[in-house]
């Protein structure tokens, strides 16, 4: 059984006992989470409005204080001055640090994610010893210089060059980087440049000094992330010692991509926590705002929004920590089998690159949805900069762009999945064959036997979603073969199916586990959120599937596929309006989203 392989969710059924849910954090982890919350309450919350005033110094100050608290070195091993914390715990803490302000979220993410990982994973021992302790303590803040004016999504096409000196002791870097988060107050610059005519870029790390030819552009004027420093960085014959190459020459693109894997999933930690925060602000508002003598939370139109906001927050959380745990488990497995610690982390993240991309896309779209509805719930007040939902909405927008745009990530999801299938890392094609074989039975309404569950109806839907996804992935692959990568619209739709499969199954597994831990009677609302999620998910799936079927089939095959689609995407069992009202009622009674820790 290839359990510890990323993307195996497509071909295997996961037992809920094997997923992690945040309710399982141990006592020490909870203490760390609590301490982070206290920090946020003391240092960030009182500043949320000031952080809308382009106060870059304030962000720097908060980052330095976070460093003193140990919050910048969570993932850095103890031997380099950090805490070597588990992946999920560091994600949760990242969420707590990020949920109040996009400016802090970005500064924190850029420093602890893409600003740290290239050094941690690819730096030489000397480099790690020199840089990591100071990055962990916040003495040095780091930034990541990949994007160039002409090289954004196509990051490997950058024009920045690195020229080896005659004595081979150093490189001279020249070029222009753009949109660099933290640039204004960073000491450490991770920069990618091309050596001679290499196919790929190469990664370097350097310490900024007054005289080494690094200059900065003005602060960019942005839609959101008001106090996050975002500047251009100009390199003019900047000298970097040869030992400060990260990894190998020509290996920079790999570094950039692998660091993005962590960046992507961690971004979802930030967006999920922010969604919860924004939801809570909206619940408080809707409880006290009266129109026509009724608190607006009592209106169906508002309740439906709350039900969706809560469901998406719950779903994002379920999938995020499931993925994080899989990554963590694989790291331990690799270490047990003799892989060196850093390599183990890298390999694990690479294996789960599909899940990382899924979480990036899903999380960024959840925060967009939630912050948009939050404004709607606030009405005119939501349009006012005096509320916290207004900056939340503007700050949310970037998450669909950076760490790879959602389009690029969606296409990557399908391409990486197909690669795993072709390389036979996963038995995807075999599974597709099995599903095809069963089509006549499915048409007759004879369902596949599913493992017993306290949520059998819901489980059946998840099984159906998975079958449909594989079937249509197979259909598209068969129709277009290698040319599928050129059919971007199709790739986007297939990605939606894969995303819905992963998220739906994760919500089911989390709910099953909660039922086991707390009893079904204490999970009524979670079950309703699962049902609401499945109904919504099936809507997305129907739409995506229709497009795939009409593009990839015709005649009798098309007819059969549509009948099959109808059978497999049926959610008629659920009284969806009541379900949503009940979810909203629970939020009202609790006065908050009470499904976190």
């Amino acid at each position: 059984m290839n359990k510890q392989i990323g993307c195996s969710f497509l071909v295997e059924e996961t037992n809920f006992n094997n997923v992690f849910i945040i309710e399982e954090f141990d006592k020490t982890s909870l203490q760390m989470i609590e301490a982070t919350r206290e920090f946020v309450k003391k240092e960030i919350e009182p500043n949320v409005h000031e952080l809308e005033n382009k106060n870059y110094e304030l962000v720097k100050k908060i980052m330095k204080k976070a460093g003193e608290m140990g919050l910048l070195g969570l993932n850095i091993p103890e031997e380099y001055g950090g805490f070597g914390m588990g992946f999920n715990l560091s994600m949760f803490i990242c969420g707590e640090m990020s949920c109040d302000s996009g400016s802090i979220a970005t500064a924190y993410g850029a420093h602890t994610g893409i600003g740290t990982y290239p050094i941690l994973y690819y730096g030489s021992e000397d480099i790690k010893k020199e840089f990591l302790p100071k990055i962990a303590s916040g003495e040095w803040i780091a930034c990541y210089n990949l994007t160039e004016p002409e090289a954004g999504s196509d990051a490997n096409s950058g024009k920045t060059i690195a020229v080896l000196s005659n004595d081979k002791k150093s490189y001279e870097i020249t070029g222009q980087k753009i949109w660099i988060s933290n640039a204004g107050f960073s000491e450490v610059f991770i920069v990618f440049a091309r050596i001679e005519n290499d196919k790929n870029i190469t990664g370097f790390v350097l310490k900024k000094s007054e005289s080494n030819g690094v200059t900065l552009g003005e602060e960019e004027k942005k839609l959101g992330l008001s106090s996050s420093s975002t500047r251009q960085v100009f390199y003019d014959k900047t000298i970097v010692p040869s030992q400060q190459i990260l990894g190998e020459r020509n290996g920079g693109f790999k570094i950039a991509m692998n660091s993005l894997n962590v960046g992507r999933i961690k971004l979802c930690a930030a967006t999920t926590a922010a969604a919860e925060k924004v939801l809570n602000i909206s619940i408080s508002y809707a409880l006290q705002r009266k129109q026509f003598n009724t608190a607006i939370i009592d209106y169906g139109a508002i309740q439906e929004k709350f039900a969706h906001m809560a469901t998406k927050t719950y779903a994002s959380n379920a999938a995020l920590y499931r993925a994080g745990n899989d990554i963590e488990t694989k790291i331990s497995e690799l270490i047990k089998n003799g892989t060196e610690k850093t390599d183990a982390k890298l390999q694990s993240l690479l294996s789960y690159a599909v899940e990382c991309a899924i979480m990036k896309v899903y999380g960024s779209e959840v925060i967009m949805y939630v912050s948009d509805q939050a404004i709607q719930i606030h009405g005119g007040m939501g349009y006012s900069a005096d509320t916290l939902v207004e900056p939340a909405y503007r700050d949310a927008r970037i998450s669909r762009i950076y760490e790879g745009t959602n389009e690029i990530n969606r296409m990557l999801i399908v391409e990486m999945t197909l690669k795993k299938a072709i390389k036979k890392e996963l038995n995807i094609f075999k599974k597709i064959k099995e599903i095809r074989k069963r089509i006549p039975l499915t048409l007759l309404g004879i369902n596949k036997k599913i493992v017993k569950s306290s949520l059998s109806k819901e489980k059946q839907i998840v099984v159906n979603i998975k079958d449909l996804t594989l079937l249509l992935l197979g259909l598209a692959a068969q129709k277009f073969k290698a040319k599928l990568v050129k059919e971007q619209e199709l790739l986007l739709r297939i990605a939606d199916l894969i995303i819905e499969t992963y998220i739906s199954e994760s919500v089911l597994l989390k709910t099953e586990k909660l039922i086991k831990l707390n009893g079904k009677e204490n999970c009524i609302t979670q079950i309703k959120m699962l049902q609401n999620h499945l109904c919504e998910s099936l809507n997305t799936i129907k739409q995506a599937s229709q497009e795939i079927i009409t593009t990839c089939s015709s005649g009798f095959e098309k007819k059969i596929l549509f009948i099959l689609l109808n059978k497999l995407s049926n959610s008629n069992d659920f009284k969806i309006k009541e379900i949503r009202r009940e979810i909203a009622l629970r939020l009202k009674n609790d006065g908050k989203y009470g499904f976190s820790i």
């Binding site: 203490q31 760390m32 609590e34 301490a35 206290e38 140990g70 805490f83």
Partner: protein, 249 residues
């Protein structure tokens, strides 16, 4: 210098308070417990004293296992060791006696308590401890300087502040002012990691002390009714309302 900080484990100030069915106890379901805020000022002062002159800080709590997370936090903030006396903490007399028993076996120069505990607000424990140990007692302490054998303390009295000098050992009941809110410490990640290996001793009480107070019933304060705003030209209406609705005139 050896310092003892007595810590009461109390419901978070934002908790929704409910009672058990017989209305004699707090319903602990869903409640987060925290270090009593008054005790936290004392703890922080003790840690400052540790940082400036190397005092050894012990924290003690009388209560069940839920107070352990609160003690762990105190360790993470910087206390050196922690003690939990495994006994009911409902009566201040019993709590004070148990702590005093512990102090008579372990030598402390300063015994800090919060001026009162925000759950029952009895404000009796520090006085009881001092009486039982026959030690000087400074209540409502808002400032403290110390040398090895004496302390200079500032305490709040009705008409202002009183400065007093006192020999050690002594019992000090502290509050805000001893340190300021901004000084309160959040445990750092390193603090939390190191706290895992610091000793947290659980002791069974050697004596039992009778409770001299019986709680008959707990009840919540009645909810405040909506605020009515009456315009300044409507004195007549105001008088009417005060008479008929509020029934105060």
């Amino acid at each position: 210098m050896n310092i003892l900080v007595c810590i009461s484990c109390v419901p978070d100030t934002t908790s929704k308070i409910n009672f058990t069915q017989n209305k004699k106890k707090l319903d602990e379901e869903g409640i987060t417990f925290i270090i009593n805020p008054y005790d936290e000022f004392c703890l922080t002062k003790a840690i400052f004293m540790k940082e400036s002159s190397g005092a050894n800080v012990t924290v003690i709590s009388v209560g069940d296992s839920k107070s352990e997370s609160v003690l762990r936090k105190a360790l993470a903030i910087g206390a050196d060791n922690a003690v939990r006396i495994n006994a009911d903490s409902d009566s201040s007399k019993s709590v004070a006696n148990l702590i005093a028993d512990y102090c008579s076996k372990n030598k402390f120069d300063i015994i800090f308590c919060g001026r009162e505990s925000i759950d029952f607000n009895g404000g009796q424990v520090p006085g009881f401890i001092a009486a039982k140990l026959n030690l000087p007692f400074i209540n409502s302490c808002v400032g403290l300087d110390y040398t090895d054998d004496k302390i200079n303390a500032k305490r709040e009295i009705d008409s202002g502040h009183e400065m007093c000098e006192c020999s050690l050992p002594a019992v000090v009941a502290g509050q805000k002012g001893l340190v300021e809110e901004k000084d309160l410490k959040i445990p750092s990640m390193r603090g939390i990691m190191t706290a895992r290996t610091k000793p947290l001793e659980i002791l069974d009480p050697e004596s039992t002390y009778n409770n001299n107070i019986e709680i008959l019933e707990l009840s919540k304060p009645s909810e405040r009714s909506d605020c009515k705003i009456i315009s300044e030209d409507n004195v007549g209406e105001l008088v009417q309302l005060l008479h008929k609705e509020a029934k105060v005139i």
